[in-house]
Amino acid sequence: MSSPKLIIVGVIAAGALTSQALASDFGRPVTPDEIKRWDIDVRPDGKGLPEGGGTVAQGKQVFADNCAVCHGDNGQGGIKDRLVGGQGTLASDMPIKTVGSFWPYATTLFDYIRRAMPYPTPGSLSNDETYAVAAYILSLNGIVPADGKLDRESLPKIKMPNRGGFVPDPEFDPARLFGKQ
């Protein structure tokens, strides 16, 4: 849907700008060990998940210590986003979007907790604590059993209830972009 005219202008501009510049002219190379410090993203296939693991029982304590103040004792009724319940409400006039009712990937939960939570001190939980609290939130939603445990092997295998609930915009459908059709 892009304008042909714009693309031509863009190509000319970018072509003129790239000229003979080399990577060595700008910035500095970076080692794999240094990259590791910031390389925190996790994909749905589990790529990026760290070693370690945690149980629902351990997660209950982590949640009480770090999360309940905003999200409520059982992941609902708090001052910030509700994390639990809402399954079956998405087509109603009052949809309740939670981890259990809406989130399509369990890997996203781990990634988001590790990068952004707890809100005042993101990054303060260990990987074990992050697995544990993710397990606890999923158990509150009936997705992981009460005696369950999560690690890099089991997390990507979890099938979230709303996994099939998303329809890609045809223009940017990952399954069709870049000649995949």
Binding site: M1, S2, S3, L6, I7, G10, V11, A13, A14, L17, T18, S19, A21, L22, A23, F26, G27, R28, P29, V30, E34, I35, W38, D39, I40, D41, V42, R43, P44, L90, A91, D93, P95, K97, V99, F102, W103, P104, Y105, T107, T108, D111, Y112, R115, A116, Y119, P122, G165, F166, V167, P168, D169, E171, F172, D173, P174, L177, F178
Partner: protein, 427 residues
């Protein structure tokens, strides 16, 4: 259609326009209505009332607004959650009702952030570029500033802009409330294509993760289409100066025409891969819940949109001559036409577009209107160069339902009653 503002070309009309303009100005000054930017209680009825000239204040390091001008954003915590404790605000909206032209003043550009507004030390800030590349690099702000740069005027719009009106219209809202999450600035920085070539991206890599250095580490997966590779850039400049912290200092991604959330602020990492990462923001957050309970994902482009900013919500007009003015924008390209209806979308007339109408930037439109004093509704409808036409409210809701929360871009209707009061309505 003409691109030039239509000006009265006979002396009678011109004189009448001046007279009425002055009358309106006086009314605005004395009542504080009609979007009055100038707040002076005492009007000058004759030239004798205009104060004598006198030496002004000392020259200074930077210019403040006139003490007569009151402009500010409105911090909000979510749809309908206004007048909140600043601690709880997640966005602040630009005062579209008080702005003229098409460039948003830097300090009034809307803001939306997910973990406050960090003020990062540029000397310690780093941009890591890695993943499916041959030469992973760490760049400093100075590195970016020595690279070839471009400057471009573009709009950025929060995906949640318009979210007040999904289910109902609160009649006490101004256009700042209904549409204040869009702004247009000139941004300066390094083309993404230059950085991609610099690190020698693998051909198999078609997706890029962009991540911020804010506490939330906001991150989005970006498909590397030709359009995005040609137009995206990493900006360090905003309206001629370094970025403001609220807008990503010291560097941010600019994605012309795409969801505001993709224009990652406080940019600290670009990682190249071969599939989307399915981050929280592209799954749980910025997806549109349709009426059947399915959610549309990767609706990355912002749509063809417009709104009349004057007269608009909570203003008051008088019968006779009025000037209708507003803003139009599209993530698809240039605005080519804006039609305005002054009879509740029954009939339409083309408005004048102020030049230049730049691609993926806000364009000012205007039209003369003589109001007969009877209740009516005014509406604007934008068309872009790809032929996209802004939908009316009913067709839009029929397609999207009322739960979508994001990408609201239906035509905005303002109702006007016999007293000239302008109010927000659905249609």
């Amino acid at each position: 259609m003409t691109d030039q503002p239509e000006l009265p070309n006979d002396a009678v009309a011109s004189s009448r326009l001046r007279h009425l303009s002055r009358r309106r100005f006086i009314m605005a000054s004395s009542t504080g209505l009609a979007g009055a930017v100038v707040a002076g209680p005492v009007a000058a009825e004759t030239l004798a009332d205009v104060p004598p000239r006198e030496p002004g204040a000392d020259l200074s390091a930077h210019s403040e607004r006139s003490k007569f001008v009151k402009l500010g954003r409105i911090p909000e915590a979510g749809p309908g959650k206004r007048n909140v404790d600043p601690d709880n605000a997640i966005n602040s909206k630009a005062p579209l009702d008080k702005l003229v032209g098409s460039i948003t003043p830097t300090d009034l550009h809307y803001e939306r952030s997910h973990s406050g507004v960090p003020d990062l030390d540029p000397d310690k800030h780093r941009l890591l570029i890695h993943g499916m590349v041959q030469k992973p690099l760490v760049l400093t702000v100075d590195d970016l500033r020595t690279m070839p740069s471009i400057s471009r005027i573009v709009f950025i719009e929060c995906t949640g802009n318009g979210w007040e009106n999904w289910k109902k219209a609160d009649e006490n809202l101004t256009v700042q409330h209904t549409h204040g999450l869009v702004s247009t600035n000139e941004w300066t920085g390094v083309p993404l294509r230059f950085l991609v070539d610099l690190v020698e991206k693998d051909h198999e890599s078609n997706w890029m993760l962009a991540e911020g250095g804010d506490a939330a580490g906001v991150d989005r997966s970006i498909p590397l289409t030709d359009e995005i590779l040609n137009e995206a850039f990493v900006a360090y400049g905003q309206n001629g100066e370094p970025l403001r912290p609220a807008h990503g200092f010291p560097m941010r991604l600019i994605m012309p025409g795409f969801e505001g959330n993709l224009n990652i602020k406080w940019l600290r990492r670009l990682k190249f891969g071969d599939q989307p990462w399915m981050t929280r923001w592209e799954t749980a957050r910025y997806t549109q819940l349709l009426a059947d309970g399915k959610a549309e994902q990767f609706q990355l482009r912002m749509e063809t949109n417009s709104v009349i900013t004057s007269p608009s919500g909570m203003m008051e007009i008088r019968p006779g001559y009025n000037r209708i003015s507003g803003l139009a924008w599209s993530g698809h390209g240039k605005i080519t036409r804006v039609d305005v209806s002054t009879d509740g979308a029954n009939s339409w007339k083309p408005a004048q577009l102020n030049n230049p109408a730049l691609p993926k930037a806000q364009t000012r439109f205007q039209m003369d209107w003589v109001w007969n004093g009877k209740p009516t509704k005014i509406v604007s409808r934008a068309t872009d160069e790809m032929g996209n036409v802004q939908p009316d409210r009913n067709s839009f809701i029929a397609q999207e339902g009322t739960n979508a929360l994001f990408h609201y871009h239906a035509q905005q209707t303002w109702s006007i009653d016999t007293a000239g009061r302008v109010r927000n309505v659905l249609a």
